[in-house]
Subunit: 397 residues, 4 copies
């Protein structure tokens, strides 16, 4: 058992922390941000800064130009990056690109990587991931997938509507999940500048930290050659899992940084602001919230580290990443909600970054599986494991 970080990792952590403090936070009030996220121009400027600092796309393999970070290393670095809502954009580790890069590294062909992945790792392009659909299609229940891919000669024709597609506006390529005639699912790659792909609208969302916002995409007879299938035909659901377990965890990491920012902002404020004869922080009611914040932050971090370590050991970690996702999304949310409360009027206005963090983070308890879906899948696994253990005990008796 060892909870220490290597000197190299501590150096990288410190470097990332300074980069965020000195190069990214000063950009947070940059006007090139709208309710739908930072502009592409702002994104490119931030990426340029990360490149100069040697911190661009650090999770990509060294072959592709990244730093080849392990999961534990990502845990440490992504938390630091998340301290500013612009940090993940700068370092090219924001959703959905971070997860897409991971998936492409795992599954794409050499040609696909050269065409789509390499420029993305270089921060030149962006991607989106088209899985979620409006009712009655695939939402929390992926088996309801309604978008279809039908074989047409050597090609596939894709038809359907997707929504909540993060980063859709301005994305260069898209990974599309579609249902085959046999009921299985396949992932397809496509450039976005195709007339058969229409961005019907960008949705108004509570968050505004994702470049490209959240869009509604319509695919009408989009023709995709067999060479642009991502991985094998029919393995879409399996790849979704390959993408999802680590992607869930990197959400936990980045939002941990945001939650820590909220907490530290509240701590600074309550140390200084007087009420009823003493600093707010010296009121037990406020002090208890500070203590609860620290407990939640620490708990989230330990869960991330443990799950990251498991993934580094080669475990799939489906159960553990579900668990970490529920624990972190709820703990980090409590931290931000308490921070708003401690800040009072400052917490619900643009006077501090916390209002923004509050709005940006609420969806985290919903995406990548709402807490309820994860709790349910965890329960089934617990029962299943108990049944197996029971059967094994009976067999050996």
């Amino acid at each position: 058992m060892d909870f220490s970080l290597s000197p190299e990792l501590r150096e990288l952590q410190g470097r990332t922390r300074r980069f965020i403090a000195e190069q990214v936070i000063p950009m947070e009030r940059d006007p090139r941000q709208s309710a739908h996220g930072p502009s592409e121009e702002l994104r490119r400027e931030l990426v340029q800064r990360a490149r100069a600092a040697g911190l661009l796309t650090p999770h990509a393999s060294r072959d592709m130009g990244g730093l080849g970070l392990t999961h534990i290393e990502k845990a440490v670095v992504f938390e630091e990056a998340g301290y500013s809502w612009l940090g993940p954009t700068a370092m090219n580790i924001h959703a959905p690109d971070e997860g897409n890069i991971h998936l492409m590294e795992e599954v794409a062909t050499h040609a696909q990587k050269e065409r789509w992945l390499r420029p993305q790792v270089e921060g030149k392009t962006r991607s989106c991931f088209a899985m979620t659909e409006p009712s009655p299609g695939a939402g929390a229940d992926p088996s309801m997938l309604a978008t279809t891919a039908t074989r047409d000669g050597d090609d596939y024709l894709i038809n359907g509507v997707k929504w909540f597609i993060t980063g859709a506006e301005g994305a260069d390529y898209v990974i599309i999940m579609a249902r085959m005639e046999d009921g299985s699912a396949t992932m397809f790659l496509s450039d976005m500048d195709r007339p058969e792909i229409v961005l019907e609208r960008s949705m108004d969302a509570m968050d505004s930290c994702f470049t490209g916002g959240h869009g509604v995409l319509r695919f009408t007879n989009l023709r995709v050659p067999a060479s642009d299938v991502l991985g094998e035909v029919g393995k879409g659901f399996r790849y979704a899992q390959v993408r999802l377990a680590p992607a869930r965890l990197t959400h936990c990491m980045r939002w941990l940084g945001q939650a820590r920012r909220a907490h530290e902002t509240a701590l600074e404020y309550t140390r200084k602001r007087q009420a009823f004869g003493k600093p707010l922080a010296e009121h037990e009611g406020v002090g208890f919230m500070l203590a609860d914040n620290d407990m939640d932050l620490h708990t989230a971090r330990l869960n991330i580290w443990h799950t990251a370590w498991l993934l580094d050991q080669g475990e799939k970690g489906n159960y553990e990443s579900s668990r970490a996702k529920v624990i972190c999304s709820e703990a980090e949310w409590r931290v931000v909600d308490r921070s708003v409360q401690m800040l009072g009027g400052q917490g619900v206005t643009g006077e501090t970054p916390v209002m923004r963090i509050f709005s940006d983070m609420r969806a985290f308890r919903i995406y990548d599986g709402p807490s309820e879906v994860h709790r349910w899948s965890m329960a089934r696994k617990l029962v299943h494991m108990a049944e197996k253990a029971h059967a094994a005990a009976e067999a050996s008796a």
Copy 2:
């Protein structure tokens, strides 16, 4: 003990409900709304509709042109009005005007009423209430009041900065709380179109339901004649209580309407949306949230009714309105948070009104006294009452 509503009140409830459904909700997507609230033009159009429906400023006295509602009647009618975020604006019962109208009725002179109150009750003008100040001034602790009023002949000169002043932009008159040289506080009335009053900026806030947003006001040697003192000199803190107890309660009422809206939106959605083979609402995890919502809504309503009844009996109800404020602000918030969760992606985007309600309501746990300040004052009162009871028991022994 009787929980029934009179036939007249049920009629008024039904009429308000229909007015909101037919005249107000269709305006919710009107573009004349910004991040700082509905425009004055939109407000006037809504007021015109309420006037036509006989529902304008119903809490004002009949003398002034209102319906002279009791507190219980307000409880029923304001909940209905609150069902749409534009409802209180339409019916002229939004904060801070609703509380200001109440305070003016209680304290203002005949001349003051004719000059400022009557046009306000008619929906022609708006007001604001300037009490809260930036650090180190008056926040949750009103005793830290830093804005000063100094005697100058028959007049007073007011100097200071106020912030979080709801409705400031475009308000016609303002009630200013200022500290006297002897440490007491006084309320002053002033028109807003005075060069000595500067709206320094409108603050970016999480909510966007208040016409005029939240502003920062600077008073520089604002000269107020003695005839524009509201009530008596030195009684500012007492009047703040007169205003606050019922004002807190009307917040509870209006937000109850919003919370019910969120719940009913989630109920409709989960009844219809399928996942994992059945409607969402038939999943226990979702059903439990629906049940919890109903329990919280019911609890909030009972607390409002009970406190309103007490006020109708002539009780001051300071303790009880504190209690109702904490119970309602927290119960209603839980309802809205659960509704977001049940709605999933729909809850965190503009697809339903719930995202808007979520953002609008968060500040309710903070303004008119954060939960923590109310809990603390309740605790002191409980101890004080126990001490009195103990002393009385000893005396009679």
Copy 3:
């Protein structure tokens, strides 16, 4: 709307409060109590005191010798009785007798009433209610009823095992729920001193406030004549509802008294005990718990009153009594848990009555339907009502 109590009810409330304080609480340390409850001898002595005070079996009809209390009157009186764990025993309003008396009044024949009910109302006898069964029989799901009643001439033969039968040891008669050959259920009355009824054991339970504890009963070819059927054959489930809705509510009332006792004990202690330079109650962390207790007590009381009023209007109140049961059992539990915490070492030892209350009350979140079963039935009802409203709106459109 009226929250006031009539002068007569206030007098009865005061009289009950004094009776409990002066006649019952001094008996709490009486040694004639075991882990399985007060002894029959102690019960009779307490009953004698209540009889002398004119407070015995007050919910029974005046015909039967009670005070014929309405539900609202019960709400007020039972809360006072519950202030001591011996109070309900003294006043003959403890479970299960209180509910059995109600059911007998509603359903029993004149002969049955004279034989079983009248002596019970007079406090001379006790009863039990045999519904719950060990796995795989009827628990939270009554449809799993396994005990059978088979016709044999003019009689019925009852066979089966029941457990968690409160008050079984020493009960004079029993109401037995059994399954008929057609799948319906019937209630049967029987004296307990029959060789075909065996009390297999008394269960060790966390609570110790019920005379007769909780027993396991075995019925072996128990012969019951048709004249001892309670109500009509086949209507057992319906009568269970008749019994249950008000019985649930009287639990809420009695436990409210216990929760208030715990709170007041903690309030007294924290007012006096010093730590870190001031009384405990002047620490915000403790004061917040006092305030939360008061909010929970008040919320529980309002929910009880509202539901009692509904029942007094002739409503069945199934939904509302479910709701009140969940709200009260959880709110009252929180009060007691917080009181333990405020009392520290005193809370987990016999130095105060609170340890006892804590152990006695835990089961309340489970019996008469665990919170989970109530939440689920509430959810189904909410969905059902929404569907009906929707259909009605469609029909009228």
Copy 4:
């Protein structure tokens, strides 16, 4: 970062698990247990079994005859021991002996160790720790220490009353905390069989897992020679910290075992018990509780491991052990409360071990500092660290 256990530790874990399952759990229904704990005879029999299994007093140094476990090793082994409430008694790692052994190893002289510690490590004797006092003495606030030690020649005379003294009845020696004339505190060692030490009574407590229960001790002119001072005069508060930080953590470890037992009992039950057409565990409402239990157990374990690792690095860990104590005591309590709820009637009766665990564990949120005291000391530390960081940043700027 490494979360793996060494092969040796895994072997020891497995051996302890088997010992508890095979040698200890079968003793749980042994009648030699009362409301005040296991009898001395039962304790000796259990100790004999642990000795035979090579698992007696494993945390003591090898010199003294233990296994010299590190904190991390204790974390793993003590969790296994805690799986049965008799496990810690058997392995001689129960409170307060476990903490006393640790303190004696750190502070006692060679002669003191040979006299008191060695037989205790061998399981032949027991000890108690006399710090807590009745009001107005030392409770959560140790500075209120009222027991005095006055110099009398070469000896000290100790006078005072202590309560909640775990293990007092039958203990062989006692460590007494007393106030010196200069306001400092000193620890004294004394045999218990002295006429100047009177066990006034054993307290009735919610728990019943500690041999010797909880007693009230009166010291009247107890004469203690200077050679029986534990450590240095005047360092009592410092030694209390030496004892407390690890002692808090071992409580977390042992109760984690109990919480896991409760969870696994509920899991077994809900896997098998049917209701409403399927096993309880397949109801989402129950499944969510299982998932929440696993999250709480995992969180508690990670916090224990992390803090134990820190202590193994030589850190004092005062802050971290406070944090772990709050997190674990609350998380483990939630697990047990949920397990009771899932078990229904089985959870509140002696049908399963869970009722017992529930009653035994409640005090853990109170002793070794109630959650409220820890939250407050954590808050002060967070503020203090922020102030130091701020000052350092200013200094370097």
